[in-house]
Assembly symmetry: C2
Homo-oligomer: 340 residues x 2
């Protein structure tokens, strides 16, 4: 029978110490690391060499299923927190990893998730430096939840924010929308598509670096996770006191995603993304921004989807493909459960 | 019927935004806060004015029941993370708050927990600056889990660590051991004591400041949570390559805790604490350290419980009250489930 996580693995004794050592510390830091302290420590002057402000962000991850086309909960947790640092203009530095495990989870499942976290972090050049491991009784949680918290350093002089949009600014996204939400729905068997859609789950810090270099006057960035692009645009409209006008024909969508959204009556602007951001740049930098993003592996299908306007402040208005107009509100009511 | 948390509260739409705004942001930051960004930001030079290193730590909290004599999951989550910062010699600065909520949790319960977090943080002078809110379907988690991550600044020149113990050093604790574990056991009805025991849950950063001022040569501190004082002493013995000798008669215990431990055959050294630390100080600073800790509200029952020795490196040995000796190992097997 395959080895499983037991309550003793969270009990503070030898079983816990061995699990943490063997599954987490070896994977995250390699063998031969020093005896761990209750906190990681970073030289503040080394951080200050990278910028003038510390960024700090956290997300919990409860996605079901744990593994899906294009990713898994571990990759998602690392990318999600990297992205919340990156969209603030920060270079991601380090992550923490808190896990809540249901008694009985196969150890192999845990190892696969942790290996995916380590791989994703290493590729992104961030270190996982501290964590916590709790085990709850069977039935007290569903398999595995992760919470990653990140610290990073914001580039000196850069000041992006949701309230910084100005009329005339240009809105761009870095590619096809809704793939993550669609991938999870389909992985649950809710769509029964012939070819699985892959989640777009990806770390965006390098794309963001490229974008900032091309558009140093950039106003704001947001990764369009739960609530989709619609949520980001509505927050932008409200916080900046501007109208947002987008054009339906300019919104990049995978035909399969577009297709099932039509069939199910879903709006792809509400679908979650895990590797897509909305960026607002001043008009004179829009062309350079788009070209730079398109030249990046994670931005090949990037598009300008709209502009900010003085008219209808607080509102997001879409010119439909039929030449009409409709208001794109925040999502009201349920969206897709456990997508992130 | 009382209002409850629904899946829509985690869905990325208006219900989520309103819940975060109303329950978390207003409580943590007060009304009139700016539109929130995906990450909090801190001036690095302001941090550097407090010390030379950043400390970073995380813990998940899954305690059952959510409310118990002496505290609740919110107070526990704030204190626990403050303590993991403090024992590294850091002044706690800010916390993040990630919550996983079971669909159907009464909103009032959530509010009570969040209010307790806010109160505890405010009293400790730390700010809760960012967070995340996920809702899972009924049955996918048990009521409410919290993960707090903390950042702080380590005092310049101070370098404490688990490997820094030296033969001759003195081991002290700041008070009665095992109260948290006992309180939770009893709150679950597992003990049926006549008078409830209160958890010792408390933020230790101020006590730590006092201790460091009195014993600037301090070697290490650890809060004795899961696995109790026995776990800390074993890690210390191993990492420092020293023997640890403690005396049973010097271990401060509440008579009730001692009593039920004897009846149930539990060792109080394995019981969890949430407001107790183990500190190791050089012998010449021991007296000053003890006096300073005893003068603090959270250290009135502090005691020197033992010493480090060159003999029996890696081992924790207790002189029993009957004049014998026994080895105090790490806990093997289960401890108390869901105490933290
Ligand atoms: N999932 C994990 N990933 C990375 N590191 C981890 C993980 N779990 C634990 N650790 C590390 O192992 C060490 C011990 O963690 P542990 O949670 O026991 O410490 P603690 O927070 O002081 O205790 P408690 O959680 O009981 O309050 C710490 O250095 C911690 O960072
Ligand atoms: N429990 C909470 N406590 C404090 N702040 C919170 C909490 N939940 C959310 N917030 C804050 O609300 C804002 C929106 O959070 P949200 O989780 O929607 O952002 P996100 O992480 O970018 O999105 P997602 O979680 O979908 O990736 C952030 O500023 C966040 O810090
Ligand atoms: Mg996020
Ligand atoms: Mg985000
Ligand atoms: Mg911990
Ligand atoms: Mg802890
Ligand atoms: Mg979030
Ligand atoms: Mg600790």
């Amino acid at each position: 029978t395959q080895p499983k996580v037991t309550l003793a693995h969270g009990g503070g004794g030898t079983a816990m110490r061995d699990l943490i050592e063997d599954v987490f510390l070896e994977t995250f830091s390699g063998a031969g690391h020093a005896a761990p302290e209750d906190q990681a420590r970073f030289d503040l002057s080394a951080l200050a060499a990278q910028g003038d402000r510390l960024a700090f962000t956290t997300d919990a991850f409860v996605v079901d299923p744990l593994f899906f086309p294009g990713g898994d909960i571990g990759k998602l947790a690392v990318c999600g927190t990297i992205n919340d640092l990156a969209v603030g203009g920060a270079r991601p530095v380090a992550l923490s990893c808190a896990v809540i495990i249901e008694e009985g989870l196969p150890l192999e499942t845990l190892r696969a998730v942790v290996a995916s976290m380590a791989r994703t972090a290493a590729e992104a050049g961030v270190v996982i430096v501290t964590g916590d491991t709790k085990v709850v009784a069977r039935g007290a949680c569903d398999k595995l939840f992760l919470t990653t918290t990140g610290i990073g350093v914001v580039r000196t002089g850069l000041d992006v924010g949701i309230a910084k949009g100005r009329p005339g600014d240009v809105v761009l996204v870095n590619g096809l929308l809704g793939d993550h939400g669609a991938a999870i729905l389909n992985a649950r068997g809710d769509l029964a598509l012939e070819t699985p859609i892959e989640s777009d789950c990806a770390p965006l810090h390098d794309l963001v670096a490229t974008l900032i270099a091309a558009a140093p006057g950039i106003r704001m960035m947001r990764d369009a996770t739960r609530g989709g692009v619609a949520a980001v645009l509505n927050e932008l409209a409200e916080a900046s006191g501007v109208g947002v006008r987008i054009r339906e024909t300019d919104v990049p969508l995978r035909p399969e995603v577009n297709g099932f959204c039509e069939i199910l009556g879903l709006d792809p602007l509400y679908l979650a993304n895990e590797g897509k951001l909305v960026a607002v740049v001043p008009p004179e930098e829009a062309e350079a921004a788009l070209a730079a993003v398109r030249a990046h592996l994670l931005g090949r299908e990037a598009a300008i989807i709209g502009r900010l306007a003085a008219e209808r402040p607080g509102r997001v208005v879409m010119e439909t493909r039929f030449g009409g107009e409709r208001i794109v509100d925040m999502l009201v009511g349920d969206q897709l459960p456990r997508i992130c």
